[in-house]
């Protein structure tokens, strides 16, 4: 059963074919875990008319077909599922993601270390020492928003985004960390790169991470990066998760 501290949900319309089931206003691991558990409960309930759901930091967006189920009814079903939710204490699957610090993708490694008054190795040790949580997947296919970044590494985004950051770049945006899943413009600060493709539409399993998973970064050198990048280009996921 939910703890007495669990926030009261709000059901917010998102037009005529979606609603947002929101349980807080801030980034909070507990609320995020409840949202991910609610998404799983909704899947298990297999409610006719539910078309898609997107767990985010503190809300669950649910797309529905109003010809099959009305938003008010769906909201009530979600409220009931939420009330009966069992949220375990254990974390999600653990991914060990190999990264090359600096290099082509880690454009900001030295400047960020200097800005923080840290040695480059100190910054790397801080970044590698933390365990991250995938709060949500969004913005782009397979793009993971990671919480758990040590406070010493929090860094504002660039005023002017860079036009092209490669897929695999490992970045910092405010108090969040990320791994770029597709190439594109970004205002985040990048300190490393991974040869792993978080998103590859040609692969049998196009996506690796899912909301609730845990991530740790493991340092590799240039030859290892090249070797793993070759495997990734050939369609290998390169890494597999440890069960929760």
């Amino acid at each position: 059963m939910q703890t007495p501290a669990a926030p009261a949900p709000r059901i917010l319309p998102c037009g005529d074919q979606a609603l947002s089931f929101q349980i807080g206003k801030d980034i909070d691991a507990g609320a995020n875990a409840r949202i991910i558990a609610l998404a799983a409960a909704l899947d298990a309930a297999a409610i006719p008319g539910v078309m898609d759901r997107v767990p985010t930091y503190r809300s669950l967006l649910v797309r529905y077909d109003p010809e099959t189920i009305r938003g008010a009814v769906l909201g009530a079903r979600l409220t009931a599922l939420y009330a009966e939710l069992e949220v375990g204490a254990q974390g999600g699957r653990l991914w060990r993601v190999p990264v090359l610090y600096g290099g082509e993708a880690g454009l900001d490694l030295d400047s960020l270390a200097a800005e923080k008054g840290l040695g480059t190795e100190e910054l790397i040790a801080l970044h590698m020492g933390a365990e991250y949580r995938v709060y949500m997947i969004g913005f782009a296919p397979g793009f993971a928003y990671l919480g758990g970044l040590p406070e010493a590494l929090h860094a504002p985004r660039l005023a002017t985004p860079r036009q092209l950051i490669p897929a695999g770049a490992v970045g910092i945006g405010g108090r969040q960390a990320s791994i770029n899943s597709v190439a594109g413009p970004s205002g985040w600060r990048f300190i490393a790169g991974t040869p792993v493709r978080l998103f590859d539409p040609a692969r049998a399993e196009p996506f690796l991470l899912q909301a609730g998973d845990r991530v740790r970064f493991e340092r590799i050198d240039v030859p290892a990066f090249a070797r793993l990048a070759e495997r990734a280009a050939a369609g290998s996921p390169v890494i597999s998760p440890e069960a929760a």
Partner: protein, 339 residues
């Protein structure tokens, strides 16, 4: 096979969209004007999940490599097949070798070319829809270039050319674009909401398949224009710090960090998408329940329109065709009579 000779702007392969992967960050993509897209497919006898072409402004030129049926929808335009000039909004036969030219669209921004059999390129993650921003689907995830030959699915070459028996639906431009307030309308003061619902907005040139940027009254958010990112939809009206609202469209990202003052209802999204750059309009609020009723009526009316398509007379004008025409009236959704 249909060959692209000179593509019109933003020419892409689309199907109904890539569904069920929003949780993985995958945008649905799909057509900007879903009813016009569905009509094009239906006119040539395709299933509604078939892939067809979308373009902006004008279609360009193509060459049929096999005998097939084609239909152009979205707006009124002149279609040339070989030396014949034929109307949009109904199916026509093209012979292998015919050059097809689709002129500028009147009264619309987004147009569709459906070909019998549908465009049978390899689906990506269950869909052929092109998502330009991430380069997923379609042909190489990009706009179509001259010389591309598009494979077609199988179809009955003897199948009929269909046309609507009802007159084209009227388009009263002055009608407001209806919204449901929220999910973050509580981030705006009541007087800001009042301006949002009474002042006029202009469609700016900053528009593409992902979003339309509007110009209108300032819409300051209480407590700033950053929220903890949450889910977005086609129709979500984001209000960034610039104060210029951004309506997310077919290719929208799945999550966003701007407060969303309201969401355009599904039934009015096609009309918004088809507004000319520089067009002025107003938003009007409906309740959540009203919006659902409007959608249900809209979906039923669209199905009725598609089911009411009839074979065109070919050669002689057959009396059977004339008798099949409903000459006294059309099937209009009740909400359109009210509005």
């Amino acid at each position: 096979m249909m060959e692209v000779l000179q593509p019109g702007p933003m020419l892409t392969v689309q199907d109904r969209g890539r569904f069920g992967l929003r949780h993985a960050g995958v945008s649905a993509a799909g057509p900007m004007d879903a009813p016009a897209f569905a009509l094009a497919n239906a006119l040539v006898g395709n299933a509604l999940d078939a892939a067809a072409l979308e373009f902006a402004g004008f279609g360009g030129s193509f060459r049929a490599r096999v005998d097939c049926r084609i239909a152009v929808t979205g707006g009124t335009t002149e279609v040339r097949i070989g030396s014949r000039i034929v109307p949009s909004g109904e199916a026509h036969r093209a012979r292998a070798g015919d050059e097809i030219h689709i002129g500028p669209l009147g009264g619309a921004v987004w147009g569709y070319l459906a070909i019998s059999g549908g465009i049978a390129i390899e689906p990506v993650m269950g869909s052929r829809a092109t998502h330009l921003r991430t380069g997923v689907g379609g042909v190489g995830g990009a706009v179509l270039k001259p010389g591309i030959r598009l494979p077609l699915g199988s179809f009955d070459p003897a199948g009929p050319c269909l046309a609507p028996v009802h007159p084209p639906r009227p388009d009263p431009d002055a009608r407001a674009i209806r919204v449901v307030l929220g999910p973050q309308d509580d981030r705006f003061a009541p007087e800001t909401i009042a301006h949002f619902l009474s002042d006029s907005f202009t469609v700016t040139p900053q528009r593409d398949r992902m979003a339309m940027v509007l110009d209108g009254p300032p819409l300051p958010a209480l407590g700033g224009h950053d929220i903890v990112s949450d889910g977005t939809m086609m129709g979500s009206i984001q209000v960034p710090g610039s104060g210029q609202p951004i309506v997310l469209m077919a290719e929208c990202q799945t999550t966003g960090g701007y407060p969303k003052i309201a969401t355009v209802i599904g039934a009015d999204l096609p009309r918004l998408a088809q507004l000319a750059t520089g067009a002025r309009f107003r938003f009007a609020a409906v309740t959540w329940e009203e919006a659902e009723e409007i959608w249900i009526a809209h979906a039923r009316a669209l199905r009725a329109r598609l089911e009411a398509l009839r074979p065109k007379p070919e050669g002689v004008l057959s009396s059977a065709y004339l008798l099949s025409c409903n000459l006294v009236g059309g099937i209009w959704p009740p909400e359109e009579v009210v509005w």
